[in-house]
Symmetry: C2
Subunit: 418 residues, 2 copies
Amino acid sequence: MSQGKLLYAQSGGVTAVINATACAVIETARAAKVPVLAARNGILGALREELIDTTKESRSAIAALRHTPGGAFGSCRYKLKSLEQDRARYERLIEVFRAHDIRMFLYNGGNDSADTTLKLAQVSRELGYPLRVVGVPKTVDNDLAVTDCCPGFGSVAKYTAVAVAEASLDVESMYDTSTKVFILEVMGRHAGWIAAAAGLAARADGDPPHLILFPEVPFDEAGFLARVQATVERVGYCTVVASEGLKNRDGAFLSEAGTRDAFGHAQLGGVAPYLADLVRDRLGYKYHWALPDYLQRSARHLASRTDVEQAYAVGKAAVEYALAGHSGVMPVIVRTSDTPYRWKIEPAPLAKIANREKKLPKSFIRRDGYGITAAARRYLEPLIRGEAPPPYAKDGLPAYVRLKNVAVPRKLAQGFAG
Amino acid sequence: MSQGKLLYAQSGGVTAVINATACAVIETARAAKVPVLAARNGILGALREELIDTTKESRSAIAALRHTPGGAFGSCRYKLKSLEQDRARYERLIEVFRAHDIRMFLYNGGNDSADTTLKLAQVSRELGYPLRVVGVPKTVDNDLAVTDCCPGFGSVAKYTAVAVAEASLDVESMYDTSTKVFILEVMGRHAGWIAAAAGLAARADGDPPHLILFPEVPFDEAGFLARVQATVERVGYCTVVASEGLKNRDGAFLSEAGTRDAFGHAQLGGVAPYLADLVRDRLGYKYHWALPDYLQRSARHLASRTDVEQAYAVGKAAVEYALAGHSGVMPVIVRTSDTPYRWKIEPAPLAKIANREKKLPKSFIRRDGYGITAAARRYLEPLIRGEAPPPYAKDGLPAYVRLKNVAVPRKLAQGFAG
């Protein structure tokens, strides 16, 4: 019996290294002579029967995915609901898979995707369609259960730590007559993993960042202002890193508590400008703030080599598991040693990962709430180690690849109702 | 007669490569056996007699300045006024120079610094104190007259073009179900040089950035919104680059026309959130925006090699000019060929540079006002060519140097009144 084809789909917010995983999936499957299809725009492409034939791509184009950010086949924010509510959609997926002889499905995403993958395994069993489903971890949020860390996180962590170090050198040169408070807003709506990574920039006591504001610690306005003032008086300036998910004591996001625009709507986004206004109005210091937004999660030019290697390793393992007949699993990263840092890949049941969320441990946040502990540093530091810059073209820009993304001809008469 | 000492000072906003100029100044002077002092926090350090003895720094520490962002000796925003208004300050500077046998003064800055340097030359002549003054160009704004480009600009230009390319790959992967409009706000209060550099990311027609908003082109709200909509309908998403200096038809900054904070103050900074609110309210598209602020001008990790080489070359030439007896000049970059790109350094009279401002030529802005021309690309592209990454430490962070900055003992009884 033929092994059939393998379908690969990217899900949710993309990262600087999700294409390194795609590269591994395609290279590993090619070596095993298994044709790989990719879903255009994630699971939606599978529902719509919009499939891409990756066998039309050259070996060098696939190799270049390893250093190209974004999602090469498109991703989506689209959550399938429970089997009861969304049975028709799950059945549609199986119908598409059957039409294209897809016997292996690899879904590259976070918690929600793990859940979808599990349900798909269940429906395929019910319908008597032989399908091996394997989840592949990915998220800058680093909040997947079981795995020690998530591909995508190490690179945004490195970007953030480097940004803090560089911008602080700038502020340090100028504080005597200019900016005294610099505020960097980082991603992390629900957990402070990225904010914590900023702490890696402080190699010695007193180094920036001087204050980290975690979503896990309710914002204390008076305490914050007192610490900013004390830092400026002691060091001359103060670098603050604030998580976008920072909340007040009532649990409301600070970014939504702030200003109204010309139309009277609450202005979205912007813990940093909110804090900057506070600093100006209460302390009178000159300030600057930065909000890198997508720049932080797409900065492939500054990727962590550890992260790139792990992103590749989980893609490779996912194909190997599927080929070996595994289903309902996800390759996870297991840390076997801190010093020297060592890790390996193991399969873990998707049921243990789906719909769970790994929070930043309390032991990683300094007792005063404004910094990271030695335990956090021990965990985080290996994840930003090593560089893996992309090749650059002669024009000074990275040589990122754009695939041809040739469509597979449709086989089903019926489209996807939506 | 001894040649005396050379004093070097950094002025105004720092860049990713101003320390490469400092490196060149010290290495070139050391080779000529001339001791280099540095002023702490720019010209203020000279006024306050806060001088740093760079001879106390190791050869490797000075070499590491070449890859370290920020201003190693501190800079300042402090403008000396006219000779009539500020004569006492100019005389104080000469007094400090005389006390420390400083016979050469190198001032590393922009238009204002060139003016200060010129006036100092005049006062020293009047007072019969032999002083050679040489300006050294530096500014991310790229607005100095005479020189073809300014050290510091090429690196922020490269950062901006790479950021647009990377973030757009992210948006392109997700627009089907998520963000359709991405807005990047870049520096450039008075001229659109940095905004123009973002245009380098578009190698082919239709590539992002799709719209550039220059400070030179009054903002046309209806025209902007129509183009955003047309781009989303044609391409699927729209990347917008907006200069912080964008103005409305009345000449007012858009960033100040927007929202008010909880205290009723105009919220400063933020053309990007202003435009994002417009897009949401008028077009209903999901948007994201980024404001990298200091990250863009301190990103030494992504410096342009051309820029680093030019920053070094002007520092070296400045010392050579001073040693050769020149005064009242600045080394400028002369472009001798576009293809292949070739440049050389020449001395230019400070009088031709002081207090002038080089605007973005009209011929660099596309007729429709939303993009750059082929002439702009021809000028800009060589400036971002080549990479010059810093060395990284084992912990995954760049190995930036922090100097000892040993103070020179004071010789004057009197302090600086302020």
